[in-house]
Amino acid sequence: MSSKQLNMVQAINSTLDLLMAENDSIILLGEDIGKDGGVFRVTEGLQAKFGSERVMDTPLVELGIVGMAIGMALSGLRPVPEIQFQDFIYTAFDQLVNQAAKMRYRSGGEYHVPMVLRTPYGGGIRGGLYHSQSGEAYFAHTAGLTVLSPSNPYDAKGLLISAMKYNDPVMFLEPKRLYRSIKSEVPDEKYSIPIGKASMVHEGNDMTFITYGSMVPTVMNTVTKHSIDADVIDLRTIMPYDGETILNSVKKTGKAIIVHEAPRTLGMGAEISAFLSERAVEYLSAPILRVCGPDIPFPYRLEEYYLPNEERILKAINRIQEFR
């Protein structure tokens, strides 16, 4: 079984290449994804290989990209729309929320929309208000959507392969901060990571970290550096999140800290905290804490104050360790 050291951009690129070669139903569409190879180079080389009918450079209209992808999916294709930055998805929000997400339901199951919407999200590249947003809660709150976010190149490939077999619309959120910052050993052939299953990336007994996407390395670095005896759960699937894994871990540790970059209020941390206090109240020995982005737009020059970091995670650890 051969494999390569790849970063996330390379992992996604080679996975698309692999899947497109064997399935001519797959069509990529988006702004600057063809000749230019995408502003993050994720689709580089694919138009040259598969032609401009399969790797479509679209006009500047997110509404049109998502809407057209929905129609393609309804006609049996497997579209992969790209939104250049997640921040620009909101003009397409009606197509996502009222069309893609509700098509199967409203048609009594007669029509469905197998599409995988790829988009880079999150901060860390000095993108300011409009190139840094983490909007996953908007999507996760929308019944009918499925929301994934890989935290490393290996998972990116496995999750993307699962998403491409899935028969409902998937939001594939790529933490742009991790695009090139980490590599993993990625097998050349296909493998899949199941949708809805979290990954236990570190095991311990004192507390449980629940996180995903760009915050996984941040949490892992903190935990290893300070030898914290903690479970660290990488959700991988944000919606439907893996309640069972979370619950089992927190029943064991009695303490939970949720870490994400998205704003705290009504972010995923809110849902997971509520989930836990509904079901694990007898097991909890400390407050469930959230370490998140604040409820402000994303700043430019001072973005490091926005992003959760080691210091803030340690503060939370200290706070719950006061409870026994």
Partner: protein, 330 residues
């Protein structure tokens, strides 16, 4: 089918649609139906286009397209089931009345957000182009819809990618209470120019004129594989919906448009062309009414869907969250 048969079939669908429309409007007043958007006045333009289509063509229709559906073969029972939201409704009683769907006849599922069907229609047309198929897509919408973002997105995409797509604007001159003059400063067919697309205008109240125009345009789209915008001018004879009271905004000097009733115009034409006699027409109307009355009463007896039905089809397989919520609620 020769021309006579073609038009007799068309007229029959018009009459059937009118009978169904009357029946549902009346039933709504009696509290037997929850809501409805009448289709009276838009029969000729829909059916005139429908006459030119093939079975494999795909329709991204809107909520006023009952005549179109009936002409293409959707049984009245299916329409009534949707309006009732009963357990025979293919949509399982989930959508408000007037939000039809018929996979068998290639009608997509109607949404409420106005014009949101248009961008997906470009995707369907793209699939046809990509797969080198021969069929085409038709997308329908009202005059009000031309103000929406979705209209702009779809028109431009269709033109840029040379898609085999007929945009049918059913200009009934009102978007609820807003007359066409206040929606935009130009005639709708001219909007095609902004996309480098062909645009035409036709009298949508006249079945024969509509058929001629549609035939020409549909043939061109089939041959040239490029989109067209057809503005079919009509008039909304009824209220916007059964919840609407046009007296609020259609003041005395504004007519209800019934002087241009497409059914009456079609009847005159059928007689002139010797396609039907007055007596035959009367019989078709009486038969339509009887058929509809019978089917309606029959479908009305069908029970509501089972409560557990509301928890399926959110995803292909229900996730644990929905399963849990279902357990709590039922």
């Amino acid at each position: 089918m020769d021309e006579k048969e073609l038009f007799v079939k068309a007229y029959k669908a018009m009459a059937l649609s009118r009978a169904l429309d009357r029946k549902i409007v009346m039933s709504q007043r009696q509290g037997r139906v929850g809501f409805y958007t009448p289709t009276i006045g838009q029969e000729a333009l829909q059916i005139g286009l429908s006459m030119t289509l093939e079975k494999e063509d795909i329709i991204y229709e809107y909520y006023r397209d009952v005549p179109f559906m009936l002409h293409r073969g959707v049984p009245p029972a299916a329409i009534i089931d949707q309006v009732m939201g009963n357990s025979s409704d293919s949509e399982k009683g989930r959508q408000m009345p007037s939000h039809y769907s018929s996979k068998e006849f290639h009608f997509m599922s109607v949404q409420s957000p106005v014009a949101a069907n248009l961008p997906p229609a470009t995707g369907a047309a793209y699939e046809i182009k990509y797969r080198k198929k021969k069929n085409i897509v038709v997308a329908t919408f009202g005059d009000g819809s031309t103000s929406t973002p979705d209209f702009h997105a779809a028109m431009n995409m269709a033109a840029v990618y040379d898609l085999p797509l007929v945009f049918l604007c059913e200009n009934n001159r009102w978007a609820i209470s807003l007359p066409i003059e206040k929606q935009t400063r130009v005639e709708i067919w001219k909007k095609a120019e902004a996309y480098g697309m062909r645009g035409i205008k036709v009298d949508g109240n006249d079945l024969f004129a509509m058929y001629e125009a549609a035939k020409k345009e549909v043939e061109t789209v089939r041959k040239e594989r490029k989109p067209v915008l057809i503005e079919a001018v009509s008039y909304r004879i009824g209220p916007h919906s059964t919840s609407d009271d046009p007296n609020k905004y259609r003041t005395a000097e504004i007519t209800d448009g019934s002087e241009k009733d497409p059914l009456i115009i079609a009847e005159k034409g059928m007689i002139e062309r010797n396609y039907l006699t007055k007596e035959e027409i009367e019989k078709i109307k009486t038969d339509s009414k009887e058929t509809i009355d019978r089917i309606f009463d029959e479908r009305e007896k069908i029970p509501a869907p089972k409560p557990e039905s509301i928890f399926t089809d959110v995803y292909e397989k229900p996730n644990w969250i929905i399963e849990e919520e279902k357990g709590e609620i039922l």
